[in-house]
Symmetry: C2
Subunit: 258 residues, 2 copies
């Protein structure tokens, strides 16, 4: 069994997915998404997921609850809660839908970048465990080479990304990989501050056939910060496959401490 | 009393805010935000709000319920539900926080545009009632002059926007105005299709003092679609005040029918 399959189904301590504090948020978001995906009443495929991280998850078991609260003819609305003991640690809402072919266009431009095999792997050691679960090849905007507090004025990152070891893409792993961007403020400021994601939204442009077509191939991720102020900052991001199909667009807000 | 104050506090039919079907979604989102804002247990100011529109609201009363589900030292997490009769018509989650001064930067560039007084009001009549509640001055990407099905390849809109009549900005009205962009697919295709927002997320960069400073001034909105496929499309957007302060960033997914 692939490590992601083991972890995404295990609402308990997952040592290989440790972050600075608690598990990698992308794994928790994927568990939230999976709770919808495996629900016997699910209608259609994911269109949108938003999760708010209310507190760090401590070691030990927790509970991921997805509930369909409104089912229409071709759409369904979900609430998601992760509880640990008596406490809420994540709130979420999602929407799934039966999707049909229509006029289509991708307006956000696919960046012109070298192929994955032409982009080297990072040589810096992983600071946290979960990073090792992904193969990340930074095309632009890797971790600062020097943490010298020089405001670079720019927080754009582009990278090739896939599961390590490779694994066929599905909606749960796409959710997790939508959270693989390192915090924009570290790149922008070349300054290390403690932080964490407080909310993440993923919009799924991919349908089942796009996931199949992507298979174990690389994803191309692009992200940039928008505004940094009063302890919080946001980013927008896009995720394509190697064929240039837009799979997901995603946004986050992080808190940071000084 | 200003029409927005009347409507935002009235969880019932609001004829001046009618959209094609049901009320203007921005008003409903503002009512969801307001339910948090007026809650006696609220801690801090809004950081993020996501609302999923599960069904059109019919004429008649409905109920807007905000519940704090996790309160930390300086942050608070909310679930929001709008019910009409026995049915859920909106699900939402929000986060509020006590915010403190930190290092700050705005990375998304403020577009260089003419001043509001130099941008004419539209001459085309409003198709729906709620449009009249806003003064919209399109700098770029107004409604198509001809609905001729010519794919323009571009769905960028920039506009100056304020309440009509003017009203001092607050978090509820900023939420509503974050939904004032007309659907990107109409601009992109110059083709009219039935549609509606299914999810909207607003990230609040503005603090109370930014709202005060903005007062009754104009907001500068910018939006562009990212991906259009299989009955759904998304956009990202930014909202600044006249002084160039980034007040909010926001994203949406719409469904559309062909």
């Amino acid at each position: 069994m692939h490590p992601f399959d083991v972890a995404v189904a295990n609402a308990d301590t997952n040592p290989p997915w440790r972050n600075f504090i608690g598990p990698f948020g992308g794994l928790t978001a994927a568990q939230a998404m999976r709770a919808v995906l495996v629900h016997p009443q699910r209608l259609g495929d994911p269109v949108a997921l938003t999760v708010n991280f209310a507190a760090a998850i401590a070691d030990g078991p927790y509970e991921v609850i997805a509930q369909p609260v409104r089912t229409n003819r071709s759409t369904q609305h979900w609430t998601i809660t992760v509880r640990q003991g008596d406490e809420v640690v994540l709130t979420g809402i999602a929407m799934t839908a039966v999707r049909r072919d229509t006029w289509a266009a991708t307006e956000v431009e696919v960046p012109q970048v070298p192929r994955p095999s032409d982009v080297p792997l990072p040589t810096t050691p992983a600071r946290v465990e979960w990073i090792k679960r992904y193969e990340m090849r930074f095309v632009e905007g890797a971790f600062p080479a020097q943490w010298d507090n020089a405001d670079t004025g720019r927080s754009l990152t582009r990278l090739w990304l896939r599961d390590n070891p490779p694994r066929p893409l599905d909606f749960a792993s796409l959710t997790a990989m939508s959270d693989c961007f390192f915090p924009r403020i570290w790149l922008r400021r070349a300054h290390f501050v403690p932080l964490g994601t407080v909310t993440m939204t993923v919009y799924f442009h991919a349908r089942e056939e796009d996931l199949k077509q992507t298979g174990t191939g690389y994803l191309l991720g692009q992200t940039r910060g928008q505004g940094f102020r009063a302890g919080y900052f946001d980013h927008t991001a896009q995720v394509w496959n190697e064929a240039g199909t837009l799979l997901a667009t995603t946004t986050q807000v992080y808190y940071f401490k000084e």
